[in-house]
Symmetry: C2
Subunit: 197 residues, 2 copies
């Protein structure tokens, strides 16, 4: 081969083997759940670069709600993997391997030029919800990374999150009723549970 | 060339020419500001897929603050282009062509199983801040897409946002003091303005 072809072949091979685009853009990592040999979920450290769905403050259900008081309400921020988000826009449903992160943060009222309302502070808890149909009997499992970010086992099926999500989630096991852009998608695709319509 | 090399050359060339990765992933769109022939900014419709920086509620400064009352505080959600976000992680500074979107949404307190706190409702306003060093005298400009999403001209230099961001932004013209993950980056990179340290 001539040198120019050799170069292109090399670039093409590198792209094929490593999955790195040859455009100078950083490739999207594959956001699939990763487990240890001990069946623990590895914390998805890059979740702040996933698609954010919504934030609330001081919500009275869900994990760590008791830590959120009227005087010091917590923000709850919800992120989903870009792959799952794109699939939801197409279908109104969550594909296998969907991951959600619920990040709880402190709120502050005075700082810099802000003298009212609330803005976000330190992380207080991180919970992950994973859809992995072959691995989990109920398809979905919940993980609590509170305290540190070491790999953790799923919460037991008796944990309140399982029954609450299953009974009250507007789509599948998830609270799409609180995600203002996705509730419309679910409505159009006909995937809202009857009670949520 | 043998067929296998021919295939690889073809794939490599397609990747080089189109900028499409050969991994089966959707390529990232280039999130650069786009203007009409009339110098109006085109609304970046995909901003909800950018990197979300933070959300606050009922904050007492900034655009449309007067619409946010104690009884009906608005949420403010801030997004930045992925390209600018990655550059900020590396340098603590915003590159040319950075775009921010500030999305204001109504808040609701009762709905589904939530009986306290607040979650997000309809969009009330969309503001965009663009860094375009050659185009704007002060490098940055602000655009108000309130009402509809048709292209708009920059707000005049006399608009309050220009002086407020310039005087109070912790990094360059931006309120990094309210973005809990980026304030640490700026601290480490030494890009915080003196008053914000």
């Amino acid at each position: 081969m001539k040198p120019v072809f050799s170069f292109v072949v090399t670039v093409g091979l590198i792209a094929l083997v490593t999955g790195v685009a040859v455009t100078g853009q950083t490739p999207q990592p594959q956001n699939q759940p990763r487990y240890t040999a001990n069946d623990e979920l590895v914390m998805p450290e890059n979740y702040r670069e996933w698609v954010w769905l919504s934030s609330g403050i001081g919500m009275t259900y869900g994990p760590n709600a008791s830590e959120s008081t009227a005087a010091n309400p917590l923000f709850d921020n919800v992120f989903v993997t870009p792959e799952a988000y794109r699939a939801f826009l197409q279908t109104g449903s969550w594909p296998d391997k969907t991951m959600f992160v619920l990040e709880l943060r402190a709120s502050h009222t005075e700082g810099s030029i802000n003298k009212g309302g609330r803005f976000q502070g330190d992380v207080r808890a991180i919970e992950v919800e994973v859809k992995d149909e072959k691995r989990f009997a109920g398809k979905w499992a919940f993980f609590d990374f509170r305290g540190n970010r070491s790999p953790v086992k799923p919460l037991p099926q008796t944990a309140q999150c399982y029954s609450c999500h299953s009974q009250n989630g507007a789509v599948d096991n998830t609270f799409v009723q609180f995600y203002p852009t996705l509730i419309e998608v679910a409505r159009q695709k006909g995937t809202l549970k009857t009670a949520a319509r």
